[in-house]
């Protein structure tokens, strides 16, 4: 393996990690504050991508499309909250899982009905097309850098928001002990709505960001949802910092594992055996990472205080 390839894969891993963080950040907040397991979060990522494509077809401008997709996915998340999720906060997790599973089935199919089963595409904007020469024989697309930058910007913004604003303070307090926050006179339902809308918007943002580089298709949110779960389990439920670090960890390790596992195995095994078990082992790496973290720290790397 060459250094250039390694660096490229490292950047790809970073980019996957950033996207995972955008999805897992909202999910972990919703978990932490509302103790609500929302399987439909992945669908909101998918909807963000579809909305971006739809707005792109309408306006012909990628930036405008992404900008419009943000409030649209937030509104959609809020509508879901008011219609369904609000009635589930007091139910046990099993029922939440079932209801949100129903919503996944419905929305995946609804998207198929509206936009068809064939994947859609959105071009990379003119301004961000092309690539940068990093070193000899290594060019990296600008758009992927833009994704990393946008994600880091959002992460910083989220950190400042959660650490230094009044609502952020309430969110942190809610993650630690929601009934106490409610008892102190905070309208917890409104806080829930804000957090939920915000989480939906972040997921939608991630979806809109990847629309130009991935194919937009029904069910694209399912895989990232499960990755986001792995991220949350590693990072600790309710912890933004944990989600950030775990997302980068999972993104980088998964990407590197997929590209280099077979080569690495070839160093110790016969080439045929390595080629046979390499891909299988590569797809297991991040789950093994999760297993190791859980074996050492059952509550994740950075558990939010106040919960077991």
């Amino acid at each position: 393996m060459s250094t250039a390839l390694f660096v490229v894969q490292l950047f790809n891993g970073l980019q996957l990690g950033i996207l995972l963080f955008l999805v897992a950040g909202g999910l972990t907040l919703v978990f932490g504050v509302m103790d609500f397991i929302n399987l439909a979060h992945g669908v909101q990522y998918m909807l963000g991508a579809y909305l971006a494509v739809a707005f792109y077809q309408l306006t012909g401008n990628v930036f405008l499309a992404v900008a419009l997709a943000l409030p649209a996915s937030m509104l959609f998340g809020l509508a879901l909250e008011v219609l369904v999720f609000r009635h589930l906060y007091e139910r046990d997790h099993l029922e939440q899982v079932l209801a949100t599973f129903g919503i996944i089935l419905f929305l995946n199919q609804a998207v198929k009905i509206i936009w068809g089963a064939a994947p859609l595409h959105m071009p990379v904007p003119e301004l961000l097309s092309g690539s940068i020469q990093l070193m000899d024989g290594l060019r990296y697309p600008i758009y992927r850098f833009a994704i990393i930058a946008a994600g880091l910007l959002v992460a910083t913004g989220l950190y400042l928001f959660v650490k230094h604003t009044r609502i952020g303070m309430l969110v942190r307090a809610g993650a630690t002990n929601a009934p106490m926050v409610s008892a102190l006179g905070v309208d917890i339902r409104r806080l829930f709505m804000i957090v939920f809308g915000f989480g939906a918007m972040l997921a939608g943002f991630a979806g809109a960001l990847v629309a130009p580089i991935l194919s937009v298709e029904p069910g694209m949110g399912d895989q990232i949802l499960i990755l986001a779960f792995v991220v949350i389990v590693i990072g600790g439920i309710g912890s933004i910092r944990g989600a950030f670090i775990a997302a980068l960890l999972v993104g980088v390790i998964d990407t590197l594992g997929r590209s280099f596992m077979t080569d690495a195995l070839r160093l110790v095994l016969a080439p045929g055996t390595a080629r046979a078990i390499g891909p299988a082992l590569a797809s297991m790496t991040m789950y093994l990472l999760m297993a190791v973290v859980l074996a050492v720290r059952p509550a994740g790397l950075f558990p939010a205080r106040g919960r077991a």
């Binding site: 397991i37 079932l98 209801a99 919503i103 419905f106 389990v233 590569a282 999760m290």
Partner: protein, 438 residues
């Protein structure tokens, strides 16, 4: 002869009386299923048996999941992985020429038990949401490993060379024999799991679900009990996988897809947790729903999804819960019908109420948004006009200050500013006027 028949009926009635309600329901269900091959020449043909086999296979998987969810309080979202593992283990054995009952079945069970022990050792350390997410992740791991199993078909799946041989014969190739085999396995699973839940082991498990602290206080460690329950349930699901692979003589990663795990949970909850016959009813109901709806439209999932949400919101306890509620009130069939009608009306009224509530809430939300929006807009316009007024004043004062003696271009500049601001102000006023009149 008549006496013999009467004696047999009496004996059967006595045996029935000795059974619990749960067991009676299950016995009824299995007896009805046993009559299916008699019905199939008249109605549905071999298709009916196919559906019946599928129902029994998924009933086995659902019963094993009930052991986890109902008794153990462990909501596994990766249970379908064991359907795939059982089918893959037996299929791989068969593809190496070892497709006999004495090898394939133990291979399926052992592979499931092994994977359950490895993943369960970590997953069972956690509870609640963590457990759901971890089992989901491990299930997905199995799915991706199956996809990358290139020597055994990878993404395309593995076609079995044929059904498992029983004592060297192709017994299971016969439609009827295979149907009864699934039925016998399902009945055996029912007996095993209900015995297990009633046993000391099952009582400890249920006690741990109710109050872990109290059980620990009287000297029970939760971990080994839960791990044992997890391994047993997953091994039984491996049996279901073995049968499923036999039925279609094929196995693919799709067996392990996480939506399949979700469907298994749906079966258990639809049937009703806390009972062992409930999951059987749930599996039957879900498969029938799937069969009917998928004939109506290819988008049947778009109907099942909202249905699930409604079931969760309005029908707690599932089908078994409803049956239990009626049974407790000891009603005659006529009363039952009346009650059913009342319930249906109530449900419709409740759904109507829900819809009205939602529309009212959204209308109120829209009104509030409009009200606050227009108030804010008016405020902004007022601020803007004040700024413009100030600008006009400034312009006039400027013009006055430079006086007549100033250069003409300076005076013209001030006048220009004044007229621009004035026209802007007039434009805003006109727009406001038009907006108000509308």
């Amino acid at each position: 002869m008549a006496r013999a028949v009467r004696f047999a009926i009496d004996a059967a009635a006595n045996a029935l009386r000795a059974l619990s309600f749960d067991q009676r329901m299950a016995a009824g269900l299995f007896a009805a299923m046993a009559l299916l091959p008699l019905l199939s020449p008249v109605f549905g043909g071999s298709y009916l048996l196919l559906v019946g086999e599928r129902a029994m296979i998924f009933a086995i998987a659902a019963i094993s999941l009930e052991l986890l969810i109902g008794a153990g309080g462990l909501v596994s979202f990766g249970h379908a992985a064991f359907l795939g593992i059982g089918a893959y283990a037996a299929g791989i054995a068969a593809s190496h020429g070892l497709g006999t009952l004495s090898v394939a079945l133990p291979a399926a069970l052992a592979a499931s038990a092994l994977f359950a022990a490895l993943t369960g050792a970590i997953a069972v350390r956690t509870r609640g949401v963590y457990f759901i997410m971890i089992t989901l992740a491990f299930g997905q791991m199995a799915y991706f490993v199956a996809i990358s199993l290139a020597p055994y078909g990878g993404d395309d799946g593995l076609t079995w060379p044929g059904r498992t041989l029983v004592l060297g014969t192709r017994l299971l190739e016969s439609r009827t024999a295979f149907f009864y085999a699934t039925l016998v396995f399902a009945a055996a699973t029912y007996v095993l799991v209900s015995r297990l839940i009633a046993s000391r082991f099952g009582r400890v498990l249920r006690g741990l679900t109710d109050s872990e602290t109290r059980m620990q206080a009287i000297g029970f460690a939760p971990y080994p009990y839960r791990l044992a329950a997890y391994i047993i349930a997953c091994t039984i699901c491996g049996l279901a996988g073995f049968l499923l692979g036999n039925q279609v003589e094929f196995v693919s990663p799709a067996y392990m897809h996480w939506q399949r795990s979700g469907e298994l949970i749906v079966m258990v909850l639809l049937g009703g947790t806390g009972t062992v016959y409930g999951p059987i009813v749930g599996a039957l109901a879900f498969l029938m729903l799937e069969e009917t709806l998928s004939r109506l439209t290819e988008h049947w999932k778009a109907i099942v999804g909202p249905l699930l949400v409604l079931v969760v919101l309005f029908a707690k306890g599932g089908i078994a819960g409803a049956i239990e509620a009626w049974r407790r009130r000891k009603m005659t069939p006529a009363q039952l019908l009346a009650e059913l009608g009342r319930r249906a009306r109530e449900a419709i009224a409740r759904a109507g109420h829900f819809v009205r509530e939602v529309t009212a809430a959204s209308r109120q939300f829209a009104r509030r948004l409009a009200a606050s929006g227009s108030a804010r807009l008016r405020q902004w316009v007022a601020v803007l006009r004040r700024w413009l007024d100030a600008l006009i004043l400034l312009a006039r004062r400027g013009a006055a200050e430079v006086g007549i003696r100033a250069e003409p271009w300076k005076r013209a500049l001030w006048r220009l500013l004044e007229s621009v601001v004035l026209s802007a102000e007039r434009g805003i006023a006109a727009a406001l006027d038009r907006w108000r009149r509308r």
